[in-house]
């Protein structure tokens, strides 16, 4: 009896204390859905670079899910050292609801704390049988558009705002026309998934719909995974500049004693190596050098920012996605 108990105690206690004493530094990066592949590469590269610089091992774990859901997990106590989410609003929410980082977090790193950008493009069936080239084609009768619910998906919010913004620009800023456009667009949406990955599955694997509004990187990923013989990417002439930001969660990192390595991790994203990995994973890098390595990957298009058209996330969120906002109106108008 006694030896067994001792053994048990040893089994439980020893590895725990050993890990605490000598194990690698651990970081948790809480991110959104489509970045899984990107951060797998980044984490390995960063561990090598950190080891070369300081001699210490660092092990970065990742957690993925819908951006809003991930933010809520962090608010509810998920121990994230860094967050890399789909939109600034979600990190603002962490600052606002849990006070885990300062309100001015977005000015701490270059380019609005956004090391890479993306945009919203169309994924269509091979050969583009419905001739979908521009946003107006999405509202034609008989076109079935797949996009997730903007209330739950960060990517879908970018898609919605891209559609709204380009309609505003085409109609000289006429808000009424933009609302008409967006209402007609969502009339063509037969199913609202809750996240970007779900919508991609609906479109690519279940074969539902003529066009998927998608993150540019997610569209290329779907193309590579599911076959260039089945799908193709259409880049519209105008779209939104999607800026998915990154931030250190100050209070959690301070508690873990990881503030320094967390900051270095995010800064690594801005290095040439980090930028190149971003470009390889179809995120538009900030560095011109990284772009030049992939000359045909990122077609030129007119891009507008959320600040310029909507006056920032807070305003866009309040006006469009809160209860009783424009998005709710689209669906109550049809009744």
């Amino acid at each position: 009896m006694k030896p067994t108990l001792l053994l048990l105690a040893a089994l439980i206690l020893v590895p725990g204390s050993a890990l605490n004493a000598a194990g690698p530094v651990k970081l948790l990066n809480v991110s959104y859905d489509p970045t899984r592949e990107l951060y797998q590469e980044i984490n390995a590269a960063f561990a090598r670079s950190w080891k070369a610089r300081t001699g210490a091992d660092v092990q970065v774990s990742q957690s993925h899910g819908g951006s809003g859901k991930q933010a809520r997990s962090v608010i509810d106590g998920l121990q994230a050292d860094v967050v890399t989410l789909a939109l600034a609003y979600d990190i603002d929410s962490i600052a606002e609801h849990a006070g885990l980082l300062a309100a001015g977090w977005q000015s701490r790193l270059p380019n609005n704390s956004t090391p890479y950008t993306s945009t919203i493009v169309f994924l269509v069936r091979k050969g583009n049988p419905k001739h979908i080239r521009d946003w107006d084609d999405l509202t034609r009768p008989g076109i079935s558009v797949i996009t997730p619910n903007p209330k739950t998906s960060g990517g879908a919010r970018w898609s919605y705002l891209a559609a709204w913004g380009q309609a505003l620009k085409k109609n000289n800023g006429d808000e009424r026309k933009a609302e008409e456009f967006i209402t007609r667009l969502y009339k063509n949406v037969p199913v609202l998934d809750s996240g970007a990955r779900g919508a991609t599955t609906t479109f690519a694997q279940r074969g539902i719909g003529d066009v998927l509004l998608s993150w540019e990187n997610e569209a290329f990923l779907a193309l590579n995974e599911l076959g260039k013989d089945k799908l193709e990417v259409v880049t519209p002439p105008i779209s939104i500049l999607a800026e998915p930001p990154v931030a250190v969660v100050d209070k959690v990192a301070a508690r873990h004693g990881t503030a320094e390595v967390a900051k270095a991790y995010l800064e690594f994203l801005y290095t040439e190596e980090g930028q190149e990995i971003g470009a390889r994973n179809y995120y538009r890098p900030r560095s011109a050098q990284a772009i030049s390595k992939y000359p045909n990957r990122f077609p030129k298009l007119q891009l507008f920012t959320i600040d310029e058209v909507f006056g920032g996330w807070r305003k866009a969120q309040l006006r469009h996605f809160e209860d009783g906002g424009v998005f709710d109106r689209i669906y109550s108008a049809g009744r």
Partner: protein
């Protein structure tokens, strides 16, 4: 006084008070405390906000769909579940053990898997959906799809409630009825049905309650269109993702109260039918 004597029937388990206290403690820890947390959280917000949340048109539409579809699926499960239970309890056939095990599969399967499988079957280019589409029937991304998913989830509840009762039912009663000149239909209505009625009610209540709370399988097949195919649990999740905890718990509280009243009603009904049978 009478209550006391009823409580204190002799039993093999160690006495009334330990068992009763344990029951109260357990129910409090596992059921009551988490549920009261829901109400407390909802109460943290103003009445105006709560009322605005639960009376919004899309929330009302979601309640209608959730309760309507669960009710429909519960009723379908009662009929089909009774048939399955009948076959399993009354006949011997090759592969019976397999069929018996299959019934429990919806219990064990992660509901998301069920939802994805049903969706690919019933979309317009799915195996089943394409034939239904030819007949003009759309299942996936309509309220009908919600009912289909809930029927799948609800079936084992009815089968497992009814099957043991049918297996235990005294067949001599049926033979006696037959020998007294009853037709097959009369035997079913006057003899078999009264015996299984309490079990059918239990099965219905379980299937219905499960249907109300079901999330995983439904969100795949429903399409989640506001005002049309959004179920109430989805709206709860949506509110949570918008950091509206009070709103989410408000919707949940209404569902809890409504389903508690419904289940209580079913329980009372069940007790009545049982008493009716005992006195008869």
């Amino acid at each position: 006084m009478r209550l006391q004597t009823n409580f204190r029937r002799p039993s093999v388990l160690p006495g009334f008070w330990p068992a009763f206290s344990y029951t109260v403690l357990y129910l409090s820890l596992i059921v009551l405390i988490p549920l009261s947390a829901v109400f407390l959280k909802a109460a943290s917000s103003s009445w105006g906000h709560l009322w605005k949340t639960i009376s919004a048109p899309n929330v009302l539409a979601a309640y209608r769909l959730s309760f309507g579809a669960s009710l429909a699926a519960g009723l379908v499960s009662v009929v089909t579940g009774f048939l399955v239970a009948w076959v399993l309890a009354r006949y011997r056939f090759p592969g019976k053990a397999l069929a018996d095990a299959l019934v429990d599969l919806p219990f064990a399967l992660p509901t998301a898997v069920a939802g994805i499988a049903l969706t690919s079957l019933y979309t317009e280019n799915g195996w089943v959906g394409r034939y239904l589409a030819a007949l003009g029937i759309k299942v996936a991304f309509t309220p009908l799809g919600v009912v289909v998913a809930l029927t799948f989830i609800g079936l084992p509840f009815v089968v497992r409630s009814v099957q043991p009762v049918l297996a235990d039912a005294d067949r001599e009663l049926e033979e006696a009825a037959r020998s007294l000149g009853a037709t097959g239909w009369q035997v079913f209505c006057r003899v078999i049905f009264p015996i299984v009625r309490p079990a059918l009610l239990t099965g219905f209540a379980l299937a219905f309650a499960r249907g109300l709370g079901e999330y995983g399988s439904v969100i795949f097949i429903s399409g989640n269109l506001p005002m049309k195919t959004e179920i109430a649990p989805l709206l709860i999740v949506t509110k949570l993702e918008q950091y509206d905890y009070a709103g989410a718990t408000a919707i949940a509280s209404v569902m809890l109260v409504a389903s508690f009243i419904l289940l209580l009603g079913v329980n009372v009904l069940q007790r009545r039918t049982r008493r009716f049978m005992e006195t008869e």
